[in-house]
């Protein structure tokens, strides 16, 4: 059986008296986009920086590609790519110069000329870093992260500070990294980003993992169920309570709201047809990851 590229168990990290990471455990599987989600100050960045050997740890065990980041950082970093929060390049460095420098670190990896084209920076080859837009800087950072053909890439708040259009472009980039066969660990506080991109994720709050799973499993588990809504004129609908997966319903004049869980929409639709009814506006309202996130990370957090 293949070993998981990233294994973290009971990670603890303190800064003086402040415990940034209390107890975080998770595993990342090969080839997935794994999300670490959490509010500011929840320990996300500390966690990924520990995984790269940029921070010493105070407890627990971490393995990345089989390496221990606290003792084998140099070796590990040859196999991983990194996009860091709060890191930049000198303003006056040109795009090609940065790629050339980082490209000469390792023998492996694609030529920087190829990365330049692949990440749409060909026209900006001679542009100085300081003159690039936020989106272009991010693309350069992604290209730099891939310059050694890494097996795992860590992206920390990559889309923070980007406008919505650039953010969508960045998401496309992240998918493309995965298509290369690279495992992606994505730190974010944008729910939409996590919901769109991540195969699995953990929600971190106060230095601990408060939830783990696929985005849709988390929504099912913590999203407070599903609402099915439709409009129907004055029929007897008492049978709604007997439809499987329905937990309750209300009507206000001709507008119905049926509460339930899981595949309730399909069952309600089928039952409606059985009763010869076909409302044209049948729809489902599902909680988003954002609702889940807010529920999990609010003061009383944790309970669904």
């Amino acid at each position: 059986m293949a070993v998981s590229p990233v294994e973290v168990s009971h990670l603890v990290k303190r800064y003086g008296d402040f415990t940034a990471v209390r107890d975080i455990s998770f595993q990342v599987e090969e080839g997935e986009i794994f999300g670490i989600l959490g509010p500011n100050g929840s320990g996300k960045t500390t966690t990924v920086e520990s995984l790269q050997g940029l921070r010493g740890i105070d407890g627990g065990e971490v393995r990345v590609l089989g390496f221990d980041p606290s003792t084998q950082a140099a070796e590990l970093r040859r196999h991983i790519g990194s996009q860091l929060q709060e890191s930049a390049l000198p303003d006056r460095v040109k795009v090609w110069e940065a790629l050339d420098l980082f490209g000469s670190i390792s023998e492996a990896g694609p030529s920087w000329q190829r990365l330049l084209d692949e990440w749409g920076l060909g026209e900006k080859k001679d542009a100085r870093f300081g003159s690039l837009s936020g989106g272009q800087q991010q693309r350069l950072f992604v290209a730099l992260a891939l310059v050694n053909d890494p097996e795992v890439v860590f992206l920390d708040e990559m889309t923070t500070g980007l406008d919505p259009a650039s953010r969508r472009v960045a998401w496309e980039l992240i998918r493309r990294i995965r298509e290369r066969g690279t495992t992606v660990v994505l730190v974010t506080h944008f729910m939409e980003e996590a919901e769109t991109l991540c195969d699995r994720l953990i929600v971190v709050s106060g230095g601990t993992v408060v939830a783990e799973g696929t985005p849709s499993a988390l929504i099912d588990r913590h999203g407070g169920g599903v609402k099915v809504k439709f409009t129907l004129d004055g029929e007897d609908t008492a049978w709604l309570s007997t439809v499987p997966h329905v937990t309750g319903w209300d009507r206000e004049r001709n507008r119905y709201e049926v509460r339930g869980e899981g595949p309730v929409l399909t069952y309600v639709a089928s039952a409606l047809l059985d009763h010869g009814m076909a409302p044209s506006d049948l729809r489902q309202e599902r909680a988003t990851l954002e609702d889940v996130f807010l529920a999990l990370t609010s003061e009383d957090g944790g309970s669904p």
Binding site: R77, S87, L101
Partner: protein, 245 residues
């Protein structure tokens, strides 16, 4: 090794893209030379300038001075700025070793100081009729040691100072104080009392003496070992205090 060469070349280009830094490193020494030359000429007087002509005295002194300006001002400012911006963190995450980061800075300091010194010498020798060095190997060795000493001091400053502003302020201050009392400004003989004592303690004072040893065969005293000691102590401290972020 390729990486170090690439880093050095890149840092050199970055240096040259900062017009003010270039002006400071390459043009300011010439201005000082012309001012001092205009004021003092090059007539030897027994009681000042160690008994040699002012320009004969100043040319080796200014070779030390340019190394000090690049090493104490440009280097730490750039290094602290790289830390502030997260460039060093970025390097570290991509496994660029510290010795490459620091090595690139030292190499740039060497190259820029050397170019600046050569410009200075090639102007001063014909204009003020200054004789060439008595011993070229000794001057080359002196320059290498002096440039290394100021690089090491600069790396130390770059390592301990929190921001590029702080590095620049302190660097300029140190450089200016040394220029005034360290033997590259007023003749050392006129600096008496506390000024003279402080001046004798500055690294520049000893750097100047080491270079004047090779150039003018003037007694270096303990300057060679002192400069070597400064290099060693600064380098050790720099290794201890080097921080990526």
């Amino acid at each position: 090794m390729t990486l170090l060469l690439k880093m050095t070349w890149l840092e050199l280009k970055l240096f040259l893209r900062e017009p003010l830094t270039v002006l400071f490193a390459l043009v300011l020494p010439l201005i000082i030379l012309f001012v001092m030359g205009g004021v003092f000429g090059n007539e030897a007087q027994a009681d000042i300038y160690r008994g040699v002509g002012a320009m004969n005295y100043y040319v080796p002194a200014y070779v030390a001075l340019v190394a000090a300006s690049v090493g104490l001002i440009s280097l730490p400012t750039h290094m602290a700025s790289n830390r502030e911006l997260g460039v060093l963190k970025r390097y570290r995450a991509s496994s660029i070793p510290a010795w490459v980061v620091v090595g690139g800075q030292i190499a740039v300091t060497f190259v820029i100081s050397m170019v600046s010194a050569l410009i200075l010498i090639s102007v001063a020798l014909p204009v003020y009729d200054v004789p060439g060095p008595d011993s070229i190997p000794l001057v080359v060795a002196g320059f290498a040691l002096v440039a290394l000493a100021f690089s090491a001091l600069g790396v130390l400053l770059g390592a301990v100072l929190p921001s590029s502003r702080a590095a620049q302020a302190l660097g300029v201050m140190l450089w200016f104080v040394m220029l005034m009392v360290g033997g590259a400004g007023p003749p050392p003989e006129v600096l008496t009392g506390a000024m003279g004592t402080v001046g004798d303690l500055t690294p520049l004072f000893h750097a100047v003496r080491a270079l004047q040893d090779g150039w003018l065969s003037l007694d270096p005293g303990l300057s060679w070992p002192v400069v070597a000691g400064i290099t060693l102590a600064s380098a050790t401290a720099a290794v201890m205090f080097f921080r990526w972020e």
